[in-house]
């Protein structure tokens, strides 16, 4: 019988290789449809009515004028009169009409009367936020006062990251279609299996098994697409009311205003060390906002490097800036920037190479310390750090200053609950079905690789069925939990199916099932390859009944806890404050890698996303109007292809990594770029730019305060 444990990597034909994603050609040729592309016969289009005010009570809603507009078929009220809205862009109603344009025009004719209420949209520190604050936590470990007092060197600084958005290239939305009391939702979601129940709780559908969610592909979620959302429910109600399919995709401005914001985080930090660089004490006063609710606890800082004596205090500022949603590695990029900037400033004060300082204190990183140490060495080699690094402040003449920065990060990434059905048909065809989804990460390809590897078949032999809630339930794709979940359930399911096949085939090979193996498209006797039959012949022995192998997430195939190290090299034009990332080196571990190509691709994507939030992204709010002023892709700036230089990705594999099993990768590599780039800028220009994004105005401002030495 086949064993479900991962084969040794040197015995793998597919696992760990660079394999192109299965849906690449389908996507690039337009053969596969995103929710945004989905057009159903006789379909209506819906548009949202949003609050223009950051905080208001809805007094009344008059839909009569909108109803008379051409093409209008139905209007759905989301926020009933008497209720409050908490940000500009808060959902109030949705209008369905024959065309998108008609729906758009009619949405403007819905007369909503508001009673304006006071708002706060500025990202201000708690002392300026009046009543809008909530102290979340204070924590003290050891004796930080004494530690900082006795420190031979201390450094104080203020660091921070503003509120940014997810800016998914495919905006949030769906097409909803009823057939009797069965609802089909073509949703752009990270949670195919989890959404159906929401339509039942909202009393739209009778039962979850009457709701089918389809997401063959989707254009980015980053943590903002776990729920059906008010627009999803409204879309289903409009479809029910009109008896026609309805499409409702958010427009770009709505996407940026209403579909999620990453909370800000700022901190005043004091950190101390001995003269040899040994870290001794940490104290921080932090705050941040993620909208009207206080979410989560205090940040866990110092990040990764656990300085034994510390005191942290965190306050949440409640604002009308928009709804906070998980953003790729929630809280980690913020905690990372604050910690790694503070350590970098301290290293600069000591005149010490920051890589040396991290290595000096590597034991404080805990059980991954050896990984971090090896990754820092590898990254330094790929960056040519030792040769290029100079103490803070590039002394070469001219306006362009160059610098290097480093950062390390961590993430969990244990696989979520997952169920897979693997079916072998008598004709030899093979499928793996899971109610999972591919966010663009390569999930579909990973499932195919595991199935094919298990069966000794080429990747093309497997049909992967995902993105449909009728398949076995799977977890939401968040927290880098998908690859561990689906790869382990698929491995178990495929092994179970194979073992049933081996039992059927064994008599014809005069062998016991446990003497057989599936290799190179054949079922053969272990140690006697000439006693074999082809896969097709083997499957023909099934008669008319296919085999189904069932598998669940299996903890002994997966693990959690990864470390990563990144190094950035930047050029700063000190006359204009422009920052260019010449090179970003990302060294990352994630246990056993199923597909090296899509794994590397995840890291490249994270680096680009990281460069973008480091240099450009900021949800800019206007206190006077309470509005987000850059809810567009003109002033909500994202990097273009010319806005970053070389990206070097190195995955840690082999002994010490592969045998840990599969661990998620989506989040970790997006954590460090902010800190690494900010540190590189400080190294280049000799002075810290305290907050991201590192825009020309802030770089020039920092230079003015402390000119290049």
């Amino acid at each position: 019988m086949a064993d479900y444990h991962w084969p040794p990597t040197d015995k793998c034909n597919l696992i760990g290789r660079r394999i192109a994603r299965l849906d690449g050609p389908w996507k690039s040729s337009g053969r596969i449809k995103y929710s945004y592309d989905m057009n159903r016969p006789n379909m209506l289009h819906a548009k949202m009515v949003f609050s223009p005010y950051a905080h208001a009570k809805v007094v009344s809603i008059d839909t009569s004028a909108a109803e008379k507009m051409p093409g209008v078929k139905a209007i759905d009220i989301i926020t009933e009169p008497g209720k409050e809205v908490f940000w500009a862009g808060h959902e109030v109603a949705a209008v369905a009409a024959e065309t998108e344009e008609q729906a758009r025009d009619a949405a403007r004719r819905v007369q909503v009367r508001y009673e304006k209420l006071p708002h706060l949209v500025s990202d201000v520190e708690p002392s300026k936020a009046g009543e809008h604050t909530k102290q979340l936590a204070e924590q003290t470990d050891g004796n930080p006062d004494q530690a900082l007092q006795q420190a031979e060197v201390t450094s104080e600084g203020e660091y921070g990251v503003p509120v940014i958005t997810h800016c998914c290239l495919e905006t949030h939305g769906q097409v909803a279609e009823w057939d009797g009391d069965n609802l089909t939702v073509y949703a752009s979601t990270q949670n195919v299996s989890g959404i159906p129940g929401e339509f039942v709780r909202a009393k739209i559908a009778d039962s979850a098994d009457k709701v089918r969610v389809l997401t063959p592909v989707m254009g980015g979620g980053f943590g903002s697409k776990f729920g059906a959302d008010t627009w999803g429910l409204a879309c289903a109600r409009l479809a029910k009311k009109t008896g026609r399919p309805v499409k409702l995709m958010l427009e770009r401005d709505q996407e940026l205003m209403a579909a999620g914001a990453r909370p800000s985080m700022y901190a005043k930090v004091k950190v101390g060390a001995k003269r040899d660089g040994t870290l001794t004490g940490w104290q921080s006063e932090s705050w941040g906002t993620g909208g009207p609710d206080a979410q989560g606890g205090a940040p866990s800082i110092p990040y990764v490097v656990r300085i034994p004596d510390r005191r942290i205090r965190h306050t949440t500022v409640l604002t009308n800036i928009g709804p906070a949603r998980a953003w790729r590695a929630p809280n980690h990029p913020q905690m990372c920037l604050i910690t790694m900037s503070a350590l970098d400033d301290l290293a600069a004060k000591l005149g010490m190479d920051p890589v040396e300082m991290l290595q000096k204190n590597i034991d404080m990183t805990g059980q991954l310390s050896k990984t971090y140490s090896a990754e820092l060495e590898k990254a330094a080699e790929l960056m040519d750090w030792k040769k290029k690094w100079h103490p803070r402040g590039d002394k070469t003449p001219g306006s362009i200053k160059r610098g290097l920065g480093v950062s390390i990060h961590t993430w969990g990434g244990r696989g979520h609950d997952s169920n897979c059905n693997c079916v072998i048909q008598p004709d030899g065809s093979l499928s793996a079905s899971l109610g999972s989804q591919d966010l663009g990460t390569g999930t579909r390809t990973v499932i195919g690789i595991v199935t094919a590897e298990t069966m000794g078949l080429p990747l093309e032999a497997v049909k992967v069925n995902i993105g449909d809630s009728k398949y076995p339930a799977d977890g939401a794709s968040g927290g880098s939990t998908t690859v561990g979940g689906v790869s382990s359930s698929t491995r178990r399911a495929a092994t179970a199916a194979l073992n049933q096949l081996l039992e059927k085939v064994a008599p014809s090979l005069n062998a016991k099932p446990e003497e057989l193996e599936a290799v190179d498209g054949k079922i053969r006797v272990i140690g006697n390859p000439s006693r074999a039959i082809s896969w097709k012949q083997a499957c023909a022995k099934l008669g008319t009944t296919p085999i189904t192998g069932v598998g669940q997430r299996s903890n002994d195939l997966i693990s959690s806890g990864v470390g990563g190290a990144q190094m950035a090299e930047v050029s700063v034009d000190t006359e204009t404050g422009q920052v260019y990332v010449d090179k970003l080196v990302a060294v990352q571990d994630c246990g056993l890698i199923i597909d090296l190509k899509t794994a590397e691709s995840q890291v490249y994507g994270a680096c680009i996303m990281g460069i973008t939030y480091s240099l450009f992204e900021h949800k800019i709010m206007d206190e006077q109007t309470g509005r987000c002023l850059n809810a567009d892709m003109e002033f909500y700036k994202l990097a273009g292809i010319g806005d970053f230089g070389e990206i070097v990705v190195h995955m840690m594999t082999g002994s010490g990594f592969d045998e840990r099993g599969v661990i998620g990768l989506g989040e970790p590599p997006v954590i460090s770029p902010g800190a690494a780039i900010s540190n590189a800028v400080a190294n280049a220009i000799g002075v810290r730019v305290p907050t991201l994004p590192l825009t020309p105005d802030k770089v020039l401002g920092a230079l003015e305060k402390g000119a290049v030495a």
């Binding site: 206007d622 509005r627 002023l629 020309p696």
Partner: protein, 329 residues
């Protein structure tokens, strides 16, 4: 967008007849890269859209003894491909290259670049050209003004002129030909733009019934060396934070005549006569260019968030001058 009547005339006469006597009557459509988004956001709601793309005689770049005439419908790509423009007027080339979007360069026209509306985010979010609240108080002054004007900003207009080409065209002393119900007229590019004093005024001298038809660069500008330098946050499509166009006539290595026009720093392309005076009679070195840059921002009054643009403007002037001095034409 609101419903509108669509017209597609083929002659200038016909086109002008279709325009109105107030701005809301009709809007001119050329490349559409600005107008369509303004209409989709309900910022402008013209009753009629007059597509001039098929109007004869508004395309092409022609050179004769008088100078070089650019049709208003010439696209950015066409401008960049033109041999005369490339060899004689690098300031225009640099400016058009600064529009780092192949789509906009393919569709956007020279006339549209000059007539496009400001990108002020209060304006684009529906608060009016001058961005006032109900009590007539400027939202820009106490608001988010990092991209707003540092010159010509005594109010009530604080937006910056968005044109990429205007500073270069003014530096090259171009004339703009306008045609309307009352016939043809020609204005200097430097006199085309105005600072509106109320929300009902526009950012240029065009009447609602007029069309910008041609841009003429006089033969007298042919001997000038020119350059444009833009400071942009992104390399990918992004509006300049500050820009400067310069045209200089050199004699014996010294500047006999120099013209300097700033972009994206004032509600109109902003001429810098102090800087021009500073430049006169000097040879262009790093240090003269720097001092000319200093002179260019004399009188700048930053708002609460845009002081950094003063530095960027100085640098833009300096780098434009150094580039022009190096250039051939």
């Amino acid at each position: 967008m609101e419903r509108f009547e669509y017209a597609h005339p083929t002659t200038q006469h016909e086109a002008i007849g279709l325009l109105g006597s107030s701005w809301n009557d009709a809007a001119v459509l050329a490349g559409g890269t600005d107008l369509i988004s303004l209409m989709k956001e309900y910022v402008v709601t013209p009753k009629r859209v007059v597509n001039i793309k098929n109007v004869e005689g508004l395309d092409g770049i022609h050179s004769n003894a008088e100078g070089v005439t650019i049709g208003a419908l010439v696209t950015m790509d066409e401008l960049l491909a033109d041999k005369t423009i490339r060899s004689e007027f690098p300031a225009l080339v640099h400016a058009a290259e600064g529009i780092t979007s192949p789509q906009i360069r393919a569709m956007g026209t020279v006339g549209g670049d000059l007539c496009q509306r400001p990108r002020c985010w209060y304006f684009r979010n529906g608060y009016g050209l001058l961005a006032m609240d109900e009590s007539g108080h400027s939202l820009v002054r106490d608001g988010e003004n990092r991209y707003h004007a540092i010159l010509g900003n005594s109010g009530p207009a604080y937006f910056v002129n968005p044109s990429s080409l205007a500073p270069a065209l003014i530096a090259l002393d171009a004339k703009l030909q306008l045609e309307g119900r009352k016939g043809k007229r020609e204005v200097r590019a430097s006199e085309f733009f105005i600072i509106p004093k109320s929300d009902s005024e526009r950012e240029n001298v065009l009447e609602p019934h007029e069309v910008l038809t041609h841009i003429v660069i006089p033969a007298s500008s042919r001997g000038f060396r020119s350059a444009t330098y833009e400071v942009r946050h992104k390399t990918a499509l992004d509006w300049p934070l500050a820009a400067a166009a310069v045209a200089v006539k050199l004699e014996g290595g010294k500047v006999r005549e120099g013209r300097i026009v700033l972009g994206h720093v004032a509600p109109i392309p902003w001429p810098a006569p102090d800087a021009e005076k500073e430049l006169e009679g000097k040879s262009i070195t790093e240090s003269t260019a720097a001092s000319v840059g200093e002179a260019a921002v004399r009188g700048a009054k930053p708002l609460s968030q845009n002081g950094y643009k003063i530095q960027l403007t100085k640098v833009a002037v300096k780098r434009a001058l150094l580039a022009a001095a190096k250039g051939e034409a």
